[in-house]
């Protein structure tokens, strides 16, 4: 099951994925039309208005809250895989154990909802 040969399909898929990216990028460079541009044409252009300031503005922390909550529930789901595979074998005990685990996280979810952390006001 775990001999190094068994990972050959995964490695091949990885190589195909990377090769496709490299190939398409290379081919577009080769067969695409070339255009001589000056520095003026390469500047950011927005409806004829001069560029003000820097594009690097710190953005809202709301995105971060959504992302970190996603990761936490992602980890919860990861823990459900070993449980789901052995679901029949564990029987009622496994169900109770998992419900304790999920109940704790459900408390967190209720807290998040009550705090309105996911609302964009």
């Amino acid at each position: 099951m775990s001999a190094p040969v068994d990972y050959l399909p995964i490695i091949m898929q990885l190589l195909v994925a990377l090769g496709f990216v490299a190939l398409t990028m290379g081919i577009t460079h080769l067969i695409g039309p070339k255009r001589k541009t000056t520095d003026v044409k390469l500047t950011a252009f927005e409806s004829g208005i001069e560029v003000i300031g820097n594009a690097r503005q710190p953005f809202s922390i709301k995105y971060f809250v959504v992302a970190i909550l996603f990761v936490l529930f992602d980890v919860e789901v990861i823990f459900m895989y070993p449980w789901a595979v052995n679901f029949r074998e564990f029987g009622l005990n496994g169900l109770i154990e998992m419900f304790i685990f999920m109940g704790t996280l459900l408390l967190g979810f209720i807290y998040v909802i009550k705090k309105k952390a996911l609302e964009w006001d």
Binding site: M1, S2, A3, P4, Y7, N54, R56, Q57, P58, F59, I61, K62, Y63, F64, V65, A67, I68, L69, F70, V71, L72, D74, V75, E76, I78, F79, Y81, P82, W83, V85, N86, E89, F90, G94, E97, I100, F101, M102, T104, L105, L107, G108, F109, Y111, V112, K115, K116, A117
Partner: protein, 165 residues
């Protein structure tokens, strides 16, 4: 065994690049490469499920979080705060403490038996579940409290309380 040395060498190289690159976004990209080499390490150690989880959660989700944190901060060079000498000293002490802890724990380590390595199916999701729900049930349930604490902490830090503020 030679594969291990190649991957370990790559891990160290990428980990050093994480520290030594000036651009923080490049640093995060090198961290992704480091995590990928860790995935290969897990596969070599017969921890297949952990390898997949490491690949999906760490390389996918947690790296996005790292990028988010980078973008939350103002990365313009002119607004970069000067690092005071006090901060440097504190950082050196904290890093030294971590080093001492690591060296101390390394000293108490004994070489694991190789029987686990011979059993190639030990890291599969089915066997992992059997162990997780019998021998390691308490750590598993405690991990839910850890996740709860992280959730509450993130919401508390990020959400402005309208009533008190």
């Amino acid at each position: 065994m030679s594969l291990f040395y190649v991957v370990a060498f790559l891990s160290i190289i990428f980990a050093l690049l994480v520290i030594f690159t000036k651009n923080p976004v490049h640093s995060v990209l090198y961290l992704i490469a480091t995590f990928f080499t860790f995935t290969i390490h897990y596969i070599i150690l017969n921890a297949q499920f952990l390898a997949v989880v490491n690949f999906i959660v760490y390389m996918g989700a947690i790296m996005v979080l790292f990028l988010f944190v980078l973008m939350l901060m103002n990365l313009n060079t002119d607004t970069e705060p000067m690092k005071s000498t006090l901060l440097k000293v504190v950082g050196a002490i904290a890093g030294g403490c971590l080093l001492v802890t690591l060296v101390g724990s390394m000293k108490t380590l004994s070489s694991a038996s190789t029987t686990a390595m011979d059993n190639t199916g030990i890291g599969l999701v089915e066997n992992l579940g059997k162990v997780l729900f019998s021998d390691f049930l308490l750590p598993f349930e405690l991990s839910s409290i850890l996740l709860l604490a992280a959730m509450v902490g993130a919401v508390l830090l990020a959400k402005k309380d309208n009533k008190t503020a």
